[in-house]
C-alpha cells in the first residue's frame, strides 16, 4: 500500500504543476484542485482501512534502505488526519474557488492552494523530524503568499505580522532539531523515539525537545504567541481564511501530539512538558474566548475562537494518555468541520447582507432559513451542545482530564464553553434574529458551491454527533497508536542510524 502513503503528497504536487502550466484556464485549475483533494481523500480512506487490517505502513522515499531514507509513515492517527484534512479541504476549496475574485485566481491562487495541501499532508505523514520542519516551511510559504495575495494595506499589515512570528517559530524549530541531532545522532522520528526510550536525552536534547515543542505551540496559536492569528486571519478573502482555519493550526496541533508522544518519554521531561502544556492550553482557551467577546466583526470573532479551540487541543495533547489523544483527535475533526463551516457561513452572510459587522446586518433568519439552520448547527457544535459532534469531543476531553486528575484545566475548559456560547449567541442574535437595520448595505447572491460547502459542514457537524460512537472507535484506535507508538517506530525502520 505504498502508493496510498505517497499519494496525498504527490497528487497536490502534480496538480500544482498542472495549474501552473494552464495559467489562464481558471476553471480547469479549480477542477484540478478538487481532483487532487479527492485523490487525497481516497488515499486517506485506503490508509485507514489498510492500517486497520494490517498495521502501520511506511514508504522509504527514493528506495533507499531504511535508516538512510526519509520515511513516510501512516499509522491510524495519521490516516485519520489525512481523511479529516482532505474532507475539510474538499469543502473549503469548493467554497474558496467559487468566492475568490478573478484577479487573485489569475495570480496563482490554485497552485498555491495545492502547495498548501501538499505541505499539510507532508506534515501529517512524515517520519522524520527535519523533514517535518521542511513540510512546515512548505506549508508556511504557500500560506504567506495566499495571505498577501491581492495586496492592499490591510492584507500587507496582516501578512507582515503573520510572517514575522511564524519565521521566529521556524527558527526555534530548527534550533531544537540541531540540539536534538547533536545528542541522538538521528532525526528519524522512529530512531529518536527509540533513543528516548533507552535513556535520558541529556540536557541539550531536552532543551532541543522543548524548543521544538515551543515552535509547534506557536504554530498551533497557543498562548502567549497567538496574536499573529487574530491579527492576520481576517485580512485575506474569506475563502483563504476558511482554508487556513480548517487546516493550519490543526496540523500544528497534530505535529505537536506526534512529536511529544514520541520524544517526551523520560519521566522528568514528561512532567515538565505536561505541566507547561496544560497551563498553556488553559490560558489559551480563556484568552481566546475573551478576545472574541470584544469584537463585532464576524471574521475577528471566529479568529479568536480558533485560538480558544486550539487551547482545548493543546490541553488534550497535554493529558499524554491514550484517552487524551483519542479525545484530541475527535475534537480536532469536529473543530475542523465546525470552525470552517462557521467561516463559510460568515462569507455567505457577507455576500447576502453586505457586511462582516454583525451590528450592520440582520433579519437573515427570515430571509435565509437554510443559512440560519446551518449556522446554528455549526455554532451549537462549537459551543458543545448535544447531539452535535462538539459535545462528544468536549465530553471525551473532560473525561480524559478527570481520569488523569487534571481538575483545574478541565474547569477552565467548561468555563470557556459558556463564554463560547456567549459569542455564538451574539452573532446569532445580531445577524439572524434582529430586524434588518436601516443602514444595511446592499447584498448579492452567493454561488451554489458556497451553499454546498456550508450544508456539507453543517451535515458533518450533525452527523459527527449522531454517529459519534462509531467515529470515536476510530479516534480511540488513533489515540492508542499515539500513546503506544511501538508499531509506528517499527514501521519507520526505526532503529538508530
Amino acid at each position: 500500500m505504498g502508493w496510498a502513503v505517497a499519494l496525498p503528497i504527490a497528487a497536490p504536487l502534480a496538480a500544482a504543476a498542472g495549474c501552473l502550466l494552464g495559467r489562464k484556464l481558471l476553471r480547469l485549475q479549480a477542477a484540478t484542485t478538487v481532483a487532487a483533494v479527492l485523490c487525497q481523500l481516497g488515499a486517506g480512506i485506503a490508509l485507514v482501512w489498510d492500517v486497520h487490517t494490517s498495521g502501520p505502513t511506511a514508504v522509504q522515499v527514493g528506495g533507499w534502505p531504511a535508516g538512510a531514507a526519509i520515511p513516510l509513515v501512516a499509522d491510524m492517527a495519521s490516516g485519520i488526519m489525512v481523511v479529516l484534512a482532505s474532507t475539510v479541504a474538499l469543502l473549503a476549496v469548493l467554497f474558496a474557488s467559487s468566492t475568490i475574485d478573478q484577479r487573485r485566481a489569475a495570480f496563482g491562487f490554485y497552485p498555491l492552494t495545492n502547495v498548501l495541501l501538499m505541505g499539510v499532508a507532508g506534515m501529517v505523514l512524515t517520519g522524520d523530524l527535519f523533514n517535518l520542519y521542511v513540510w512546515v516551511e512548505v506549508t508556511l510559504i504557500a500560506s504567506f503568499v495566499l495571505m498577501a495575495l491581492g495586496g492592499g494595506r490591510m492584507q500587507m499589515e496582516g501578512a507582515t505580522k503573520y510572517v514575522t512570528l511564524n519565521v521566529v517559530a521556524s527558527v526555534l524549530f530548527l534550533t531544537g532539531i540541531g540540539l536534538i541531532y547533536a545528542v541522538a545522532g538521528t532525526v528519524s522520528l522512529g530512531g529518536l523515539a527509540t533513543y528516548a526510550r533507552h535513556g535520558p536525552l541529556g540536557w541539550p536534547g531536552e532543551a532541543g525537545a522543548m524548543f521544538v515543542l515551543a515552535a509547534l505551540l506557536v504554530k498551533a496559536a497557543a498562548f502567549p504567541f497567538f496574536w499573529w492569528l487574530p491579527a492576520s486571519y481576517h485580512t485575506p478573502p474569506i475563502g483563504v481564511t476558511a482554508l487556513f482555519a480548517g487546516l493550519l493550526t490543526k496540523v500544528g496541533v497534530f505535529a505537536l501530539v506526534r512529536v511529544s508522544s514520541l520524544l517526551l518519554t523520560a519521566e522528568s521531561l514528561r512532567d515538565i512538558a505536561q505541566g507547561a502544556m496544560l497551563a498553556i492550553g488553559g490560558v489559551t482557551m480563556v484568552a481566546g474566548v475573551l478576545g472574541a467577546a470584544a469584537h463585532s466583526d464576524m471574521r475577528r470573532i471566529l479568529s479568536f475562537h480558533i485560538v480558544s479551540q486550539s487551547g482545548y487541543m493543546v490541553m488534550g495533547a497535554g493529558f499524554m494518555s491514550g484517552a487524551g489523544y483519542a479525545a484530541t483527535l475527535f475534537f480536532l475533526g469536529h473543530n475542523m468541520a465546525a470552525k470552517t463551516g462557521l467561516f463559510v457561513a460568515a462569507g455567505i452572510m457577507h455576500r447576502l447582507a453586505g457586511s462582516y459587522d454583525v451590528r450592520a446586518i440582520g433579519g437573515l433568519m427570515r430571509k435565509h432559513p437554510g443559512l440560519a439552520v446551518s449556522f446554528a448547527v455549526c455554532a451549537a457544535s462549537l459551543a458543545g451542545f448535544p447531539p452535535f459532534a462538539g459535545f462528544f469531543g468536549k465530553l471525551a476531553l473532560v473525561q480524559a482530564g478527570v481520569a488523569g486528575g487534571h481538575y483545574a484545566v478541565v474547569a477552565a475548559a467548561l468555563f470557556t464553553s459558556i463564554l463560547t456560547l456567549y459569542s455564538m449567541t451574539k452573532i446569532w442574535h445580531e445577524a439572524f434574529w434582529k430586524p434588518t437595520p436601516g443602514s444595511a448595505g446592499q447584498g448579492r447572491s452567493a454561488p451554489w458551491p458556497a451553499w454546498l460547502a456550508l450544508y456539507g459542514f453543517a451535515t458533518l457537524s450533525a452527523a459527527g454527533g449522531l454517529a459519534a460512537g462509531g467515529l470515536f472507535d476510530f479516534a480511540r484506535l488513533g489515540g492508542e497508536a499515539l500513546a503506544d507508538p511501538a508499531a509506528f517506530i517499527a514501521a519507520t525502520g526505526g532503529e538508530r542510524r
Binding site: F130, V134, E137, L140, I141, F144, V145, A148, G151, G152, R153, M154, M156, E157, G158, A159, T160, K161, V163, T164, V167, V168, S170, V171, L174, T175, I177, G178, L179, Y181, A182, V187, P204, P230, A231, S232, H234, T235, H295, S296, D297, D357
Partner: protein, 121 residues
C-alpha cells in the same frame, strides 16, 4: 573552532532577537537574517566539527571509520539556507509593499488591520 563558534552563535541570536524587537520593519528583517544565520551555525556546531576527514570509505574497507565529518548537519544547513533565503526574500518584498501601501514601516503604526471598525478613518 568549536570553542569560538558557540560564542558567535550566541552573539548572532542576541543581536537578532534585539533587532526583532525594534519597531522599524527594516531592522526586524536584519534581525531575521541574523537569527536564521545563527541557527544554521548552531546546527553546524552542534553536529560536531571534524577537520580534514571527509566521510569517504577508505580503499579496502567496507565501512566509514570514525572520526569523520558528518555530512548530515551540512545537508540540514544547506536546506535551511535555501528555505531561509527564500523566506527572507519574500519578507523583504512584503516589507516594501507594506511601506508603499501603508506609508510607514513603524510597527506601532501598522494598526489599521487590528483597529475596531469605529476607530478606522
Amino acid at each position: 573552532m568549536e570553542a569560538v563558534l558557540p560564542f558567535v552563535v550566541g552573539i548572532l541570536y542576541a543581536t537578532g532577537t534585539f533587532l526583532m524587537l525594534r519597531r522599524a520593519l527594516a531592522r526586524v528583517l536584519i534581525g531575521l537574517a541574523l537569527l536564521t544565520t545563527g541557527t544554521n551555525l548552531l546546527v553546524f556546531t552542534a553536529g560536531g566539527i571534524v577537520r580534514g576527514r571527509p566521510p569517504l570509505i577508505e580503499p579496502g574497507s567496507e565501512q566509514l571509520s570514525p572520526p569523520y565529518a558528518d555530512p548530515l548537519p551540512q545537508a540540514f544547513i544547506l536546506t535551511a539556507i535555501v528555505i531561509g533565503f527564500g523566506v527572507l526574500a519574500f519578507a523583504v518584498a512584503l516589507a516594501y509593499r507594506t511601506l508603499r501601501d501603508a506609508g510607514t514601516e513603524d510597527s506601532d503604526e501598522l494598526t489599521l488591520s487590528e483597529a475596531m471598525p469605529e476607530e478606522r478613518r
